[in-house]
Symmetry: C2
Subunit: 296 residues, 2 copies
């Protein structure tokens, strides 16, 4: 089936911008023209593609089409640049990144690739164990992920290892682990967990106790707040060396068990597309990860 490129364009603009108004402004057409094109496209494929909400998002059917629309837009931008035709257009890179990478090494890679003013970023925060789903759903074209299995149509590059440590404040250690870090004490000590997708604390507990425990849990989905709450003694939690080296050195955070880190190997998965902006970002990510992450 042949799809209308103006309709596809309107559709991906609505998803990119989050509203019909902003899509209209970006495309320099009226809001009703955007609305009309999307309605026609939805009739053509026989599915609702846009969830009309604030912000607008793609439905499940829309996600598959969005990937197609983005690929077309990317290839077109490159083709136009190659023949020197058309106005200078920007390429928006939708990328899934885990919060701890974003809080540490990833911005440097963005800064490096972003020196090219034709690149803009659309960063999605997602747990490293789940970001491959964003690729599968077509919501991003590249991701920092813990999943080495290539998503269909994707290339995988190993980036290195993010090393996590189980940490607590000295006062918290005294209060909950004075008798040692055991199944008994771990079952009672409050545990900080980033969100429902974060399995790092559980992984550490299983490694130490060989079973799953159900201690009191604080859910706290912000990387720096997570470290601050650990320092304040709210709970113990896993944080990457890259964020806490200073605190460990100063002794304001200590390891629950010295020398028992949890290593998370990270990979860069990206659509196998011959697009300049994506190649540039891939090089920047590799270079930055190479100097920031541990190598095996």
């Amino acid at each position: 089936m042949q799809l209308d490129s103006a309709q596809l364009n309107a559709f991906s603009a609505v998803i990119d911008e989050g509203s019909f108004e902003r899509a209209a402004a970006v495309l320099h057409i009226t809001r009703s023209a955007v609305s009309q094109r999307i309605k026609l496209l939805e009739e053509r494929v026989g599915q609702v593609l846009v969830r009309r909400a604030t912000p607008c998002t793609a439905t499940e059917a829309g996600q598959a089409l969005y990937r197609h629309a983005r690929e077309i837009a990317l290839s077109e931008a490159d083709a136009l640049a190659a023949i020197g035709g058309g106005p200078r257009s920007t390429t928006r890179l939708a990328i899934g990144v885990n919060a701890d990478s974003l809080a540490t090494w990833f911005p440097a890679a963005m800064a490096q690739a972003g020196e090219d003013p034709s690149i803009t970023f659309d960063i999605h925060v997602e747990d490293q164990d789940h970001s491959a789903n964003l690729l599968r759903e077509g919501r991003v074209m590249a991701a920092v992920t813990a999943d080495p299995q290539p998503v269909q149509g994707c290339q995988v590059l190993p980036l290195g290892t993010l090393r996590y440590r189980a940490l607590a404040s000295p006062a918290f250690m005294q209060r909950f682990f004075a008798t040692g870090v055991t199944a008994t004490t771990l079952a009672r000590a409050p545990m900080l967990v980033f969100n429902r997708k974060d399995a790092l604390q559980e992984r550490f507990v299983r490694r130490i106790t060989r079973r799953a425990l159900t201690p009191p849990v604080h859910w706290l989905p912000e990387a720096h707040a997570f470290v601050k709450a650990t320092q304040a003694g709210l709970g113990w939690g896993m944080a990457p060396d890259l964020m806490v080296a200073g605190h460990l050195h100063a002794g304001t955070l200590v390891e629950l068990i010295a020398g028992k880190p949890v290593d998370v190997p990270l990979y860069w998965q990206y659509w196998r597309l011959n697009v300049q902006a994506l190649a540039r970002m891939t090089a920047a990510v590799q270079a930055t990860a190479h100097s920031a992450l541990l190598r095996r």
Copy 2:
């Protein structure tokens, strides 16, 4: 209609924990008992309540019931504590907080209230202009919000003002705003925006130019990465004084237009419930906000 409290309990545990397995572990029952109770509850109300996914979440119908289930659990915990009966149980406070509060003053409030070991937190990150929705949906029992209109059943307390400034690196200023900060230069300079719900940059642009512009946009939903990207010269963006005072002082970030902050008054909205843990957190939030935020 009289609902079974064991079923309600199983339901809210699945939503709180994100999976049937963890809910079973927390309730000390089998996974199939959890599954059975939820099925019975769903049959009773005639609606699907749990979206079976990783993690499990409440459906729209489930959200309304979740609020009811949480209220019952909270009141029960207080009643048991008052009569000194039952095992010491923890109260989980589900709270919606905007990312910039979480990255700055809010962890101190958590630390203060969290000195009571019977309190655990379930923090949801949400834009200050949208967090009132979390209250409406019953997904949180309190929220830091920009919305002073009380959500039904909620109490509102003013917290003070978070002051934002439009910031860029000196090199970025030189490159894009050498001729001044005008509609022409703002339309071309890359702009950092937290996510589709973040209207702060747009608000600043409208105030300066009296119109909406469509500059290139980087979407970057992580508070510290946002500031880092601004420093690296990827774009200009709005950041709170509390996060950037040091950078402004050192000159690594400068204001686009000196003395044109955007002030965001924040409010604490919480369920009108006579629950000790919520009262304790409310006092901690008021005290912390009082010393960290600006007063009008």
